[in-house]
């Protein structure tokens, strides 16, 4: 077993409509193949980042800050995938 790794990064929701169902689904799907634990926090609410409904509960609108914490051996790779999504603005305007 490799040592557990924790990676943390804060993102700003880049797309106009915020983290609604479609982008949240992309987020969950991107993480499906990773084994690390995913926590996403907005202000003082923290949810499981592998849960679509959890992410929706954050009601993360355009411009809001999300702190993403990944724990596990494959956390760095998973973070790369998440970064891609935010850079691509979840393929939205």
């Amino acid at each position: 077993m490799s040592a557990p790794i924790t990676v943390q990064k804060t993102f700003v929701v880049p797309n106009k409509l915020g983290l609604h169902a479609r982008p949240a689904a992309l987020f969950v799907q991107a993480l499906q193949r990773f084994r690390c634990k995913v926590l996403v926090a907005k202000a003082d609410t923290e949810v499981n980042g592998k849960s679509l409904m959890g992410l929706m509960m954050l009601a993360a609108e355009h411009g809001s800050q999300l702190k993403v914490t990944l724990e596990g051996a494959d956390a760095p790779q998973a973070m790369l995938e998440i970064e891609k999504l935010f850079v691509r603005k979840f393929d939205e305007a």
Binding site: K16, G18, L52, M53, M56, M57, A59
Partner: protein
């Protein structure tokens, strides 16, 4: 007469008998089960999950057929909800920890999520909990081995009134005789609203307790314009709404009558009115509108949400479908205007994290860098010319060098196809988008090598004014009637006319009723409009006098202020 005020969700007026859908109350009791039975209970829950997955597969096929891709995506969301740890992990945990039945564990888990959602202020997000309930109810009905209600049995024309409509309720509604929807719950972005808009029938949502106050068979009026439900209306109210209904019908009839009429001003100035095509499902609509062609086929969709670039064959099929459907009328196909960030997804090396993608590697810049992508697309477009009239359009041209490089690849593709013995049209026009101010400023030179131009107003305006339309801090500065924009458009059109080349205007500005006299008055040859606005724009331009519109253009050119120009255009 009772009037209940709600939220307008889809426009229109409907009158008729109410069909009240009884709210499906599933009563779930807490049953303690023995510690030795919890494993079996978890297994029963997993079986219900499997059965629900199968439901979704079946529903997906049906939705695809009746409502189209947009709605089928909803099923994908439901699959994700079904595999959400809040259901797959939380429910078994509750069964194991509390030694309770699966139904109770599930309803507790759902209640827990619901509580969190109810606190959300943003309606758009709060509404999404209904998707969860829908999936939850399906699951519960499998656990309880109950049949889920279906609305297929509605045979007569009626107004459907319900506490809430869930996507699974409405799968079969597309071909029903329902005149309108009224629901107690829901907001502007709810499933009911989207469905009603798609079916083009009125809907009012957020009517609080309407479903309890209306009885089956009551006569009701549904006013989708003002968001009202009127139960047992007075004769006066009925008369008033009948009049309004008649007026709307007449307006629609007037628009309808424009289909197929030659687009011309009152004083006989001719021009072509075409439609923009963004996705293939719009082809049928465009054919129905009897346009003068497809003025702009945006091919970006072919490159989105996928892991590799579309093949020549795939593109050829997509273009051929549109070209054949136009039956001899022109189709202007633009090579893809995608950004560098898309490349990584397609498995090609490209720039990441461009700080300003609008000024970055996109459109023709990207395709000249990866000329294989450009050549593949040009070959596919050229091959589609065997099915009809096709013109090719290059996006984001800003210099002679770019135009020449692209032309070289275009001719090389033509030569290749010739050598391969592929049947293509002999002469295919190659035009450029004028959307970068530089192209407008040196258009006389570009037109020595370009066969026609298409003005992309969205980008042109944003580059002239240095305004990013999706940046909320400056979006208000985006202004199609800014004197600098009006002058630039005028000079572009004049230059093209002098060179004897055709000018198309595409972009959102064409759909703005105020802009029509300006564009027509400048003498634009083709307007290409989004299908939804096509007939409205046609009605406006056909009510203009070209002579008058040209004078208005001259007056607008002398004005120093956008408000002044807009006043001039509104006063027509």
């Amino acid at each position: 007469m009772i009037v209940i005020k709600g939220v307008p969700a889809s426009p229109g007026i409907a009158m008729g008998k109410a069909y009240v859908l009884e709210d499906e109350e599933i009563v779930v009791n807490r049953v303690e089960i023995g510690k030795d039975k919890v494993r079996a209970e978890v297994k029963r829950f997993k079986q219900a999950l499997e059965a629900t997955y199968r439901d979704l597969d079946a529903a997906e096929a049906k939705v695809l057929k009746t409502l189209g891709k947009q709605h089928a995506k909803l099923i994908d969301t439901h699959r994700l909800i079904l595999s959400d740890p809040l259901i797959t992990k939380d429910v078994p945990r509750r069964i194991l920890n509390e030694a309770v039945n699966a139904e109770f564990a599930l309803s507790e888990a759902l209640d827990h999520v619901n509580e969190a959602f109810e606190k959300i202020e943003d309606e758009f997000f709060r509404e999404r909990r209904h998707d969860l309930f829908d999936v939850g109810k399906r699951l519960l009905s499998h656990l309880l081995k109950q049949e889920k209600r279906s609305l297929t049995d509605i045979e007569t024309a009626c107004i459907l009134i319900a506490r809430n409509l869930l996507p699974s309720d409405t799968v079969n509604l597309k071909d029903s005789k329902i005149l309108g929807f009224a629901t107690d719950l829901g907001g502007k972005t709810s499933h009911t609203a989207i469905l009603a808009q798609g079916m083009q029938i009125p809907a009012v949502v957020g009517l609080s307790d309407a479903s309890h106050r209306v009885k089956n068979g009551d006569f009701v009026i549904l006013d989708g314009e003002h968001g009202m439900l009127i139960i047992s209306p007075s004769p006066e109210a009925i008369a008033k709404y009948q009049k309004a209904q008649l007026k709307t019908q007449q307006e629609e009839k007037a628009l309808d009558a424009l289909r197929g009429q030659t687009a011309a001003t009152l004083d006989g100035h001719r021009f072509d009115l075409c439609a923009n095509l963004d996705t293939p499902d719009e082809i049928k609509t465009i054919v129905g509108l009897k346009t003068d062609g497809i003025g702009l086929f945006r091919t970006e969709y072919l490159f989105l949400n996928r892991l590799e670039a579309p093949t020549e064959e795939e593109q050829f099929r997509a273009y051929s479908q549109a070209v054949k459907a136009m039956n001899g009328l022109p189709t202007v196909i633009r090579t893809a205007d995608i950004g560098g960030d898309r490349l990584a997804q397609l498995g090609i090396d490209g720039p990441k994290n461009e700080t300003n993608p609008f000024m970055g590697l996109r459109g023709i810049r990207l395709f000249l860098r990866h000329s294989d992508l450009l050549k593949t697309q040009l070959r596919a477009i050229l091959r589609s010319t065997q099915h009809g009239k096709v013109r090719v359009l290059l996006p984001m041209i800003s210099s002679m060098a770019e135009l020449r490089s692209a032309r070289r690849i275009f001719f090389a593709a033509q030569q290749e196809l010739l050598a391969e013995g592929v049947d293509t049209a002999k002469k295919v026009e190659l035009g450029i988008m004028v959307e970068i101010p530089a192209a407008g400023l040196m258009l006389d030179h570009l037109l020595t090598e370009a066969d026609f131009i298409s003005i992309g107003t969205n980008d042109l305006i944003q580059y002239i004014l240095a305004v990013d339309r999706i940046n909320e801090h400056v979006a208000h500065l985006y202004d199609p009637f800014h004197p600098a924009v009006v002058r630039t458009l005028y000079s572009i059109v004049e230059t093209a006319k002098k060179k004897g080349k055709r000018v198309t205007v595409c972009g959102e500005m064409t759909s703005d009723p105020k802009a029509a006299p300006l564009l027509v008055g400048m003498g634009v040859d083709v307007l290409s409009v989004t299908p939804r606005m096509f007939l409205r724009v046609k009605q406006i331009v056909m009510s203009l006098r070209f002579e008058h519109a040209s004078k208005i253009v001259q007056r607008a050119l002398s004005m120093s202020d956008s408000d002044e120009i807009q006043r001039l255009l509104t006063d027509i």
